[in-house]
Symmetry: C2
Subunit: 405 residues, 2 copies
C-alpha cells in the first residue's frame, strides 16, 4: 500500500516525540508499505512566531506572515528525516515548493491549485521515505504561501490524491472523532466510521480534529482517511463515503466553536442588493463569513444584518462593516465577542423531522437564549452566549442519546 | 548611493533589536540611499537547531542540516520586513532562492556560484527595501544549501558585488576591527582602516568580525566594506584596497583561534606522494585543512605529518587520518584538542626582517612552547597550548606596540 501519514504539532512537539514518529513510520515501511510523511510545525512554534510578529506590528503584512510561519515546518521535516535516517532507513525532506505544491496568491489562506509531486515519485522509487512540510506551498510568483490553520491536513490529503495513495492517516493527540468534545462531555464516544459530509460539518463547526478543506479534498478524490492517535495504537475513526453499513443514527455528533464573533449592522435601509454589497466587500478582503442571518428591524423599514467571522478576522471585518454601514446609511455596527456556536450533525437528519425543534426546545428548557440559527441538510447550528457552551453541549449529547454505544 | 547593510545575529536578537535595525535602515533610505538589508538568524537560534538535531543523531545528514538551519533566517527576514513596513516604508523579504543565490552542492559549506538578483532590482525600482536571508542559497537540484558559519557576510558582499553597490556595511556587536580581541587585551585599539589582505588573515586567524570568504569576495570585486556596531553610531573600520594612506605599521593585529585541533600521523614511511595521498582524501570529505607541518621523524626514515582542522571537522578528519595511517603503514595517529593558534598580521611585515624571530623570542621568554609554525607574507601563526592563549596575545600586543594610538 501507499500510505500518507500526517503528524500534527503535538505529535512532533519535541525530539523525543519526533523519534517516536520515526519509529512508527519505519515500522510501516518494514511491513512493506510505501510511506510519505507530512508534518506540521512543533506545537507552540507557530503561536510563538505570530507573537513575535505582533510585538512588531498589530497588522503584519500577509506575505511576510507566510514567509515567517513557513519556517516552522522546515525544522520538523529536517529533524524527522534525520530521525528516520538514524533508524537506518533512507529519507529526504521536502518543502512545499520542492514537491510542487502550487497555490493561489491569497497569503495566509491559500488554496492548492495543483501538485506536481515529481520529486516525491523519484524519492519513493529510490526507496526513500519522503518527509513533506505541511501547510505551505508557493504561488506563481515563486512566493511562499500558507494554507491557514490546520492546513497540514490538506497537504496530506492533496498529496494522497495526487499520488492515488491507498490511505491517508491523520495522526493527532486524540484517538479519533468523538460524538462531542470529551473534555466537555465525559460520556463522549469515539465513532468507528463517519461519512465525509458529516465530518465536513463537524470540522466546520469547530471539532478541531480535521481541517475542513482536507475533508472536501478527500471527498472529491475519494481518499480514505483515518484519524488516530500518534501516542498509542488504538484504531482511529475511518472517514469514508457514506455507505449502507454506516450507523444510521439521527445525530452523530455535537460540536462547539468559541472562535467566532458576531457582527451586526443595525437598521440597514431595506432595498435589494444590500447583502451583496456587504458580503462582496468582506469576500474581497479574503474573509470567510460563517453564518449570515437577516432579520426585519424593529421599525419594519429596515433590516438587521448579522454574520459571524473567526476571531482572527474580526478586526478587518468590523472595519469593513463600519464603512459599509456609513455608505448604506445604516444605524451602526455592533460586535459581540462573547458568543459560541453549538451544532448538531448527522446524515440521518435528512430523513428525520423535528430534530431542530428538539434542539431549540432543549435550549429553551435550559434557559439558553438563541441569538442566531443556521441549518443545512445534515446540521443545525445555534449561536449562544459563550458562558452556556459547555452546558449546551452536555444537554444535547444527553438528549440525542450519543453516549449509548 | 546603493548600500548593502548586513545585520548579524546579536543585532536582530529580539523584536526590540529588530525594530532598532528597521529605524536605522529607514534613516538611511530617508537620506536618499537605496538600501538592501541582509540578516542572519536571531542569535542563539542556529545553536538551538543544531542542538535539536544532535538530540536525534550524532551525525545528522548534511542536506537535512541545511534544510533545518535555513529556517532561522526566514524568521528574521519576515520580522525585519514587517518592522520596516511598520515605519511606513515599503519592504519585502526574500529567501536565498528568491534572489537567485545559486551555489554548489556542498551542503553546510556551499560556495556561491552566481547571483541572479532580478527580483532585487525590481524591488528597488518599486521603491521597496529588500530584506534578504543571509547564509543560504540553492543548488542546481533546487535543494537548500548554507554557506557555513558567518556566511551571511558573504551573502551581503556577493549581493553588493552583483549589484555594484557603493558600500557594504557589516553591522555587528563590536565597533570595528581591533588590533586584538578587546576581551583579552584591554588596550586593544580600533583600526580606522585595514587592507583586504590584512583583514583576510585576521578573519582566517579567528578574529570573528568578518567571514573570510566575504573578504575574498570583497577583494575580488573591490567592494568597500565597513565593519561597525548596530548598537551605536560610532564610525567603524573601513576595509579597502591597500593604499598609500594606510598606516605603515609592521604588525597591525594579533589574533587567537581556539577552534582548532591538531592531528598528527606519526612516522609515515618517507616517500614521494605521501602528503598528496593524505590531503586528497581529507579534501574530498570537504574538510578545510588550515596549517600543515611536516617534520623528519626521530628515527630519520619516516616523517611526522601534522595538520590542524576546525573542531567541527575533527571527528571526520581523525577517521580519515586513521585509515590513511593504516594504508601507509605509519605508526599511528594522535589528536590534540587543547591547542590554540596565535598569529600576528600586518602588510608591513613584507618589508621588515625579524618580525617572526621577535615573536618566537617573546614566546621563549614567557616559557610558551611552540608546537607548529606557519608563515605567509603578511602573517606568522604559532600553535601553542590553549592554556597560554590569553597571555600570548597580551605579550605580543605589548611587544609590537599596538596599544599606542
Amino acid at each position: 500500500m501507499l500510505i500518507v501519514q500526517k503528524y500534527g504539532g503535538t505529535s512532533v512537539a519535541n525530539t523525543g516525540r519526533i523519534k517516536a514518529v520515526a519509529e512508527r513510520v519505519v515500522a510501516a515501511a518494514k511491513q512493506g508499505h510505501q510511506v510519505i510523511v507530512v508534518v506540521s510545525a512543533m506545537s507552540g512554534e507557530t503561536d510563538k512566531l505570530i507573537r513575535l510578529a505582533h510585538e512588531i506590528s498589530d497588522r503584519p503584512d500577509d506575505r511576510e506572515m507566510d514567509m515567517l510561519l513557513s519556517s516552522g515546518e522546515r525544522v520538523t521535516i529536517a529533524l524527522t528525516a534525520i530521525a528516520i535516517q538514524k533508524l537506518g532507513h533512507k529519507s529526504m525532506s521536502f518543502t512545499g515548493r520542492q514537491v510542487g505544491i502550487i497555490t493561489d496568491s491569497v497569503h495566509t489562506k491559500a488554496m492548492i491549485e495543483r501538485i506536481e509531486a515529481n520529486r516525491l515519485k523519484i524519492a519513493l522509487d529510490e526507496g526513500k521515505i519522503p518527509v513533506v512540510a505541511g501547510f505551505q506551498g508557493i504561488d506563481e510568483f515563486s512566493d511562499v504561501t500558507t494554507l491557514g490553520r490546520g492546513g497540514s491536513d490538506t497537504t496530506a490529503v492533496a498529496i494522497a490524491a495526487a499520488l492515488k495513495a491507498d490511505l491517508c492517516e491523520i495522526y493527532t493527540d486524540v484517538e479519533g472523532v468523538y460524538t462531542t468534545d470529551p473534555r466537555i462531555v465525559k460520556e463522549a464516544r469515539k465513532l468507528g466510521k463517519i461519512s465525509y459530509d458529516e465530518m465536513l460539518e463537524m470540522a466546520s463547526l469547530g471539532a478541531r480534529v480535521l481541517h475542513g478543506r482536507s475533508v472536501e479534498f478527500a471527498k472529491k478524490y475519494n481518499v480514505p482517511l483515518v484519524v488516530r492517535s500518534s501516542f498509542n495504537y488504538a484504531p482511529g475513526t475511518l472517514v469514508v463515503k457514506e455507505d449502507e453499513d454506516m450507523e444510521k443514527i439521527v445525530v452523530s455528533g455535537v460540536a462547539a466553536d468559541k472562535n467566532q464573533v458576531r457582527i451586526t449592522i443595525m437598521a440597514v435601509p431595506d432595498k435589494p442588493g444590500i447583502a451583496a454589497s456587504i458580503f462582496n466587500e468582506i469576500a474581497s478582503a479574503n474573509i470567510v463569513v460563517d453564518m449570515i442571518v437577516q432579520n426585519i428591524s424593529s421599525d419594519g423599514n429596515a433590516t438587521d444584518m448579522s454574520f459571524t467571522v473567526s476571531k482572527a478576522d474580526s478586526k478587518k471585518a468590523l472595519e469593513i462593516a463600519k464603512s459599509v454601514s456609513d455608505k448604506l446609511g445604516a444605524k451602526g455596527v455592533n460586535m459581540n465577542t462573547d458568543v459560541a456556536k453549538v451544532s448538531i450533525v448527522g446524515v440521518g437528519m435528512v430523513s428525520h423531522f423535528g430534530v431542530a425543534a428538539k434542539m431549540f426546545e432543549t435550549f429553551a428548557k435550559e434557559g439558553i437564549n438563541i441569538m442566531m440559527i443556521s441549518t443545512s441538510e445534515i446540521k443545525v447550528s445555534c449561536v449562544i452566549d459563550v458562558k452556556h457552551t459547555e452546558r449546551a453541549v452536555q444537554v444535547l449529547h444527553d438528549i440525542f442519546g450519543l453516549a449509548a454505544a
